[in-house]
Structure formats: structure tokens, C-alpha cells
Symmetry: C2
Subunit: 237 residues, 2 copies
DNA sequence: CGTTCGTCAAGAGCAGTGCTCTCGTCTCGA
DNA sequence: TCGAGACGAGAGCACTGCTCTTGACGAACG
């Protein structure tokens, strides 16, 4: 009952929720540029200025949606990856990849918000940092686990030594992994998000039709960059 | 002679040029969302409605800028790649990658326009198709040449057979190359543009500092996915 | 030479936007 | 109970893309 502080605060939380819900629906249909405070207010039967009692500016509303987006994507990846046996590292990688793609295709505008071009004058506030790494945290743990289990056999290669400081920073999401595996991971993640962005942003239109199969094959190639097991798509469905 | 048809047409072409120049400058500072016809008109000392004599809508002006962007990026990649000996396939690949990255970092808003999230209601007209493939045409030719010269030795792998039709479509920019190399190429391009997008859109902020070296190493890893020579960054500068 | 017709800049105006300020009203807590 | 704060409504400012009309200029044609 500490939750039901006052009736005021409850209705306030309820209204904030309703505003973000309507805004998210508007975002899904119109895109980030079409998000209009006045339209949200209109749909709620309020006057536009009343919205400012809850969100001091349009950017603050956008920030709330971005954080929600990070969490939704992160949760989708967490759930997709959790459904695979812990020792099936390739399976976990592929599940995570398909989870990213699936969520992005289902919520293209929200994906654009968090992995596309940043909105003009908008600067992501510090509040977003914890939510924004949920997806990559999952990806990092896969690599970390696979390395611990000795499941990674990448072709030997050496990153330039001047990158060791940067590698240490990235290693935060994948402990105990050597520098070379850090860079192979970042490179694979670029492949993943690069492909998904291509697909969501329409770069594959009129070119690639069987996109799920092509994506699956590409992520198997990325897995081999990670040194993660066989690449032949024929082996597994 | 035939170019200087009438004085009217010459001043018209001149004005169109001036409008796109100012618009491009505005785009560079404000981003796509901040491009304002009225601001362009103001800077030209015209009234806003006069702009509509030359561009029927804001989207048409944007289209002109997008086509210019495609051509600028394509030209940058063409020039960067042309500076390397024809039989140095790895060098050509790396030069093309660095050209993409360099242009993108120098023109982040224009890069966002062509490889970032598509602008809300905007649909790319057919007129853009020829310009938009200039960069990937260069990348395709590198793979095509390397394959012809027997310089590609990728690990054997087999793409699922249902992708053969799609592979044929992509092969248009890289003739004579087998299906598996087509998919390895598309995957490598995803790595390239995924990384560049990460960097331009700020995903590497507060994480990776020595970005040029990291990028170079990642593109060498991508080259090894292509089956293109050695990966060790220490071997070459 | 004079007229006609197309091109052009200018201005007013419409509908929409984010955002601010003020003004009554209502509610919660001391 | 009463005062402080939260709240919704409304007017208003500056801005946007876009349309329509008006009047001036210039080139081509009779």
C-alpha cells in the first residue's frame, strides 16, 4: 500500500501511462516525426497544454518512448535467448539474432528510434544508459559463456595493440574474454544490426525476398567469425 | 550553345542550384527534420512561396538532396577504391571501406538520409535507383574481380538452396560469382554499414575511442569472411 | 510596333505544430 | 478548516508546409 500513495498520484501515473500508450501507437503509425503532442491530447480529450503537466516537452515524451523501446527490445532478446539450452552456444546466438530481427520488424519505428538516425536536436539523457545495453548484454554473455566452455575456435588473428584500452571497455559486457574475441564480437554485432537495419529501412526492397532464410545464413556466417561452430545452413533448420 | 537555351532557363538552373546548396548547408547543421523551406527562402532573400516555383514540395527538395548524397558517397568510394592497384583485392576492399566511413563521418546528416531511418512520409522515387547503387557497385566489382583472379578462398559453406533466386538478383552487381560468395558479400557489407552506422549514430560513444583502428581491424575480419587474404592487422598498416 | 501569353516574386491566408502564460477549480495535507 | 499545490482549459506566440491570387516583367508572335 505504499504504492497507492494518494488518489492523485495514482491517477497521475495512470494518465502518464495512457499518454505514453497513445504516443506509442502514434509513433507506430506515423513515425517519430509524426508524433504530435496536440494529437495525443486530442485523442485523450484533453487540451494540448494539459499534456505539459506530465511531460515538460515533446523530447521528454520521446525519451520515455525510447527507454520503453530499449526495454522491449532487451526483453525480447532475453526471452528468445533464454529458450535455448545453456550449452548450445550457436543456438543461443541464432535465437538472439532472430529475436532482434523479429522485434525490429514488428516495431520498425521504435527500432528506428533506438538504432536509426538520432532525432535532430535530441540528446539521449543519462537515464537511458542502463536500458540501452540490455540486448548487447545478452549477446556478450553468450560469447562469455562460449569462451569459458572452450566452444570458441576462431582463426587466430591479432588486433593492433593500441586497441587494448578500448577492448577493456567493451569487455564490461563479456567478462574474461580475450581482446581478439572482443573485436570479433563487436564485428559480429555490427553484422547483426547492419543487416537488420538494411531490412527494416528498406534497403533490401526489390532485391532480396526470402529474407528470413538469408538472415539466418548471414548470422551463421557471423557466428563463424565468432569461431562458433559450423556454418552450413543445411545442417540445422 | 545548346546548354544556354534561354536566359530564363539559365537563371532558373542557377536558382535551383543555389536552393539545393543552401538546403544542403541547412541539412548539415540542423539535420533532415530541420530543413525548412521558409528558412531557405529567407536566406535567399525570397519569399517562401517563390521556392515552390522550383520545388513543388519539401519532399522534392529532399529527394534532390538524397540523390546528391548517393552520388557524393558513390564518388567518394569510387575514388578511394580507384587509388589502389587492381590486383590488390584486400587493399581495394579496405580502401572502399575507409572511403565509406570517411564520407559518412564528414557528412553525418547526409549519411543518415540515405542509410538511416527513412524520413516519415517520404517514399523514394524511382529516380534514385541508379544513383543509390554506385557504392555497392564498387564493392561488388571488388568481389567479382577477386573471384575471377582466384583470390578468394572462403571456408566452404552452403547457403540454403531456396535462396538461389535472391542470389541471382544480388549477382547483378557482382557477375560470375557463385551463390555462397554472394551471401558472404552481402554479409560483409552489412558489417561495413552496420559499423559505420553505429559510429555515425553515436552507439560507440563512451565506449570505443580509437575508432579508426578498430574499424580497420573489423573490416579485415569482414575481409576474411569474404575469404580475402590474411586477417592480422599487424601485417599491414 | 503592339499584343499576348507564360514565368515569376510577392503577399495573404489556412491548418497545423511546440510551447508559454494566466485563470479559475479542485484536492490533498497540515 | 484553510492554504498550498496540482490540475484542465483557453488564449496566444512564433513557427512550419502549402495554396491561391495579384501584379509585373519579358519573350515570342501577328
Amino acid at each position: 500500500m505504499t504504492a497507492s500513495r494518494t488518489a492523485r498520484e495514482r491517477v497521475r501515473a495512470e494518465l502518464i501511462r495512457e499518454i505514453t500508450d497513445i504516443a506509442r501507437r502514434q509513433l507506430a503509425t506515423e513515425g517519430a516525426g509524426g508524433l504530435s503532442l496536440r494529437a495525443v491530447a486530442r485523442e485523450m480529450g484533453m487540451v494540448s497544454s494539459a499534456i505539459y503537466r506530465y511531460f515538460p516537452s515533446r523530447d521528454d515524451l520521446l525519451t520515455a518512448l525510447i527507454i520503453d523501446g530499449y526495454n522491449a527490445l532487451g526483453e525480447a532478446v532475453e526471452q528468445g535467448e533464454a529458450a535455448v539450452a545453456r550449452d548450445d552456444h550457436l543456438g543461443r546466438w541464432l535465437a538472439a539474432c532472430h529475436a532482434v530481427r523479429g522485434w525490429a520488424l514488428a516495431h520498425p519505428h521504435e527500432y528506428a528510434l533506438i538504432y536509426g538516425s538520432p532525432v535532430p536536436g535530441y540528446q539521449a539523457p543519462r537515464a537511458t544508459v542502463e536500458a540501452r545495453v540490455r540486448d548487447v548484454t545478452v549477446l556478450g554473455r553468450i560469447v562469455s559463456d562460449a569462451w569459458r566452455d572452450g566452444a570458441l575456435r576462431p582463426p587466430s588473428s591479432e588486433p593492433p595493440p593500441e586497441l587494448s584500452a578500448d577492448a577493456a571497455a567493451v569487455r564490461e559486457v563479456m567478462p574474461e574474454v580475450p581482446d581478439e574475441m572482443v573485436w570479433r564480437s563487436v564485428t559480429s554485432w555490427s553484422t547483426l544490426y547492419g543487416w537488420v537495419s538494411f531490412e527494416v529501412f528498406g534497403q533490401f526492397n526489390n532485391t532480396i525476398d526470402n529474407r528470413e532464410a538469408a538472415f539466418d545464413h548471414a548470422m551463421r556466417l557471423a557466428a563463424s567469425t565468432l569461431g562458433l561452430a559450423a556454418v552450413s545452413s543445411a545442417s540445422t533448420a
